[in-house]
Amino acid sequence: MTELLSAALVGQIINMLASVLLLLSFAMLAQRRILSLIDLFAAQGFVLMLSTAFVGWATGQVHLYVSAAITLGLKVLFLPWVLHRLIRRLNVKWDVETLINIPTTLLVGIVLVILAFNVAQPVSQLAGTVTRGTLGIALAAVLLAFLMMITRSKAVPQVIGFLAMENSLFFAATAATYGMPMVVELGIALDVLVGIIILAVFFFQIRERFDSLDIRHLEKLKE
């Protein structure tokens, strides 16, 4: 790689992809329409795929190509397709309702990013990877996805938040360690796949029972 690009440029490109990822996380946090949310999720997966493949190319880690291919197949193509189909089959309303208004959520998100950078700083200095500067961004994206999950009142956005969190974790793995070992990555991909199938079944059950996917119906159990 050094023949083609200087190490500094590699670092720049990785940082740029990381910032796009963070930007997309914020965009998801601010998005009101459910279909756009799915598209943003797919875009996030695409950036993740690009950065994984680029890191793989820059460092000569061949298994990262496999990881990038899994990301492309599962998170850019398959999951958005399944979610789109689900939305159509379930006839979900277009708008995403939030429990806290969106500007407040974004402000909380900024605080989370600062927090994440502070937590990640001592750790990222110890990582031996060219991508280590992005660990803070990865953690920030994890926390933003988490924030999205807890501020949305509908089931589908919550699940997208969950999947975005999975994306961010993969990004963290690339940033800190050049990806998890192959066997683990395959296992995680399998879990995500099975999880989404179970969720699809589950959505139909919830809908059949409540005529809606608003999880505020699911707040009867206390203590």
Binding site: L139, I188, K220, L221
Partner: protein
């Protein structure tokens, strides 16, 4: 190649596939039992071979058995076997009451076996990445079991379970990534850097800053599945709304399995950071869980929720014991894991039949079990007395060891523990006593209840309280030495 490990893991995996095809047939429950018995026999062979030849590493180093996990494998295989025996009449009665269809029974049987598989995989995995994958898979296999009745409450419980455990376990993945990062500096890239056997060898060289942050994430992640307060919200709902056999294995096995994963991580963190860091965190979480759960007990109106909170309390106590560390506390923690698992599943068996007899899970509507069905009544009473730590049951022995060690090493915690145990005793006994004695509201069941598992478990717990066989004691000591 170790055939015992392959059989222990393969039997429930194949079983899940087979039952996915035939799980709705009349004899599916018997097939379920047969598979569980086969798994237990294989686990027995595994125990024998570990006792004979020492630890085994198998399947390209990805799976291993040592004295710590072998006893949990045996316990898991045993309780899943007795639960399969209990579920045969129980689910038949549920079907007769019209709460389940044949299709859902198929889902239940298949998922039950797969759930057992994932738990055994967590216990046997050497690769901490696989531990994570299998823990997540354990959540996935049980989500549809919790919502098996498709009532609004059960759907809500399953949703909560999925989201909370999913988020929690994602934190554990981040912790695992950080752990892998710390290990890579010593063991190089590749899966060796996630193998517990390799990591344990170099644990004192792992980077302390990274390990400190990694352990917090691992504690929060696996702690969610253990049901530690304040991450416990999913637990009472999932226990109360799922079918009783699922409550029994969730409470008796899954919590243990998650705690096991946490303990493995603690061993590594201790090596990197020195003792107090991980210990203090675990003692803190454990103590808060014991106290909070004890005070929630008295407010419960649903009998399964009551015992779910009791599980949180006991898991907190075990976490506290492992946090204290040292040979006696770890011994007590392992013993408590065993007796809690046996007792709590026995209680859920009895509670399940009691709820079927009275048609409700509300404590105030279950009255005088002993008049209509002495066996269910006595089963519930004995189980309750055992779980509350009355001598001579095994729970007393382990709680006594934990408390005396706490008095010596962590005297500040003792008043909290004693107060919590006292409050728990008053709350649970006061609620269960009128359920068992007095005027009856129970009726007869279409099929005879399965009570052999209840009394078998209670008898084992009683035995462990009076006499721990030297083999087993040696085994606990070995495992406690590993935990440190």
């Amino acid at each position: 190649m170790s055939w015992e490990i392959v059989t222990v893991l393969g039997m429930p995996l194949v079983g899940g596939g087979v039952l996915a095809l035939v799980g709705h047939r009349r004899r599916a429950a018997e097939v379920n039992i047969a598979l569980s018995v086969a798994t237990f026999v294989a686990a027995g062979a595994l125990v024998a071979s570990v006792i004979r030849d020492g630890p085994i590493i198998a399947l390209w180093d990805q799976f291993f058995v040592d004295s710590l996990n072998v006893f949990l494998v045996a316990l898991t295989a045993f309780v899943s076997m007795t639960t399969a025996m209990f579920s045969r009449p129980y689910m038949r009665i549920e079907k007769d009451h019209g709460r389940l269809t044949a299709g859902r029974l198929r889902l239940y049987h298949s998922m039950y076996q797969l759930f057992v598989f994932t738990m055994l995989a967590v216990l046997l995995a050497n690769n901490l990445g696989i531990v994570w994958v299998a823990t997540e898979a354990a959540t996935l296999t049980t989500v549809l079991l919790v919502s098996l009745y498709r009532t609004p409450a059960s759907l809500e419980a399953a949703w909560k379970y999925f989201i909370l455990c999913g988020v929690g376990i994602a934190q554990a993945l981040f912790g695992t990534i950080l752990l892998y990062m710390a290990a890579q500096r010593i063991l190089g890239t590749g899966f060796e850097a996630l193998l517990w056997t390799h990591l344990a060898g170099v644990r004192s060289e792992l980077e302390p800053t990274v390990m400190a942050i990694a352990f917090v994430f691992l504690l929060v992640g696996y702690g969610t599945k253990v049901g530690l307060v304040p991450l416990h919200n999913w637990l009472p709902d999932a226990h109360a709304e799922g079918p009783t056999p699922v409550s029994a294995v969730l409470s008796g096995l899954l919590l243990n399995v998650a705690l096991y994963a946490l303990v493995r991580c603690k061993v590594l963190a201790d090596g990197a950071l020195g003792a107090p860091y991980a210990s203090r965190l675990m003692m803190g979480f454990g103590l808060v869980s014991v106290v909070v759960a004890a005070f929630f007990l008295s407010r419960q109106r649903d009998v399964k929720r009551l015992f779910a909170y009791s599980s949180i309390e006991h898991m907190g106590l075990i976490t506290f014991a492992f946090g204290m560390g040292g040979p006696i506390a770890s011994f007590a923690g392992l013993l408590h894991m065993t007796v809690h698992s046996l007792t709590k599943s026995a209680i859920f068996f009895a509670v399940g039949h009691a709820a079927q007899k009275t048609g409700t899970q509300l404590i105030e509507n279950i009255r005088g079990l002993i008049n209509v069905s002495p066996t269910v009544g006595w089963g519930l009473m004995l189980g309750t007395v055992a779980i509350l730590g009355v001598p001579p049951f095994g729970v007393f022995a382990s709680e006594f060891l934990i408390l005396t060690t706490a008095m010596r090493e962590q005297p500040w915690a003792t008043p909290f523990l004693l107060a919590a145990l006292g409050v728990a005793f008053a709350a649970v006994f006061g609620k269960v006593q009128p359920m068992v004695f007095g005027e009856s509201t129970a009726s007869r069941l279409p099929h005879p209840p399965a009570l052999v598992p209840v009394f078998a478990h209670v008898a084992l717990v009683l035995t462990l309280g009076i006499y721990i066989p030297p083999h087993l004691a040696h085994w606990y000591r070995e495992a406690a030495r590993l935990i440190g």
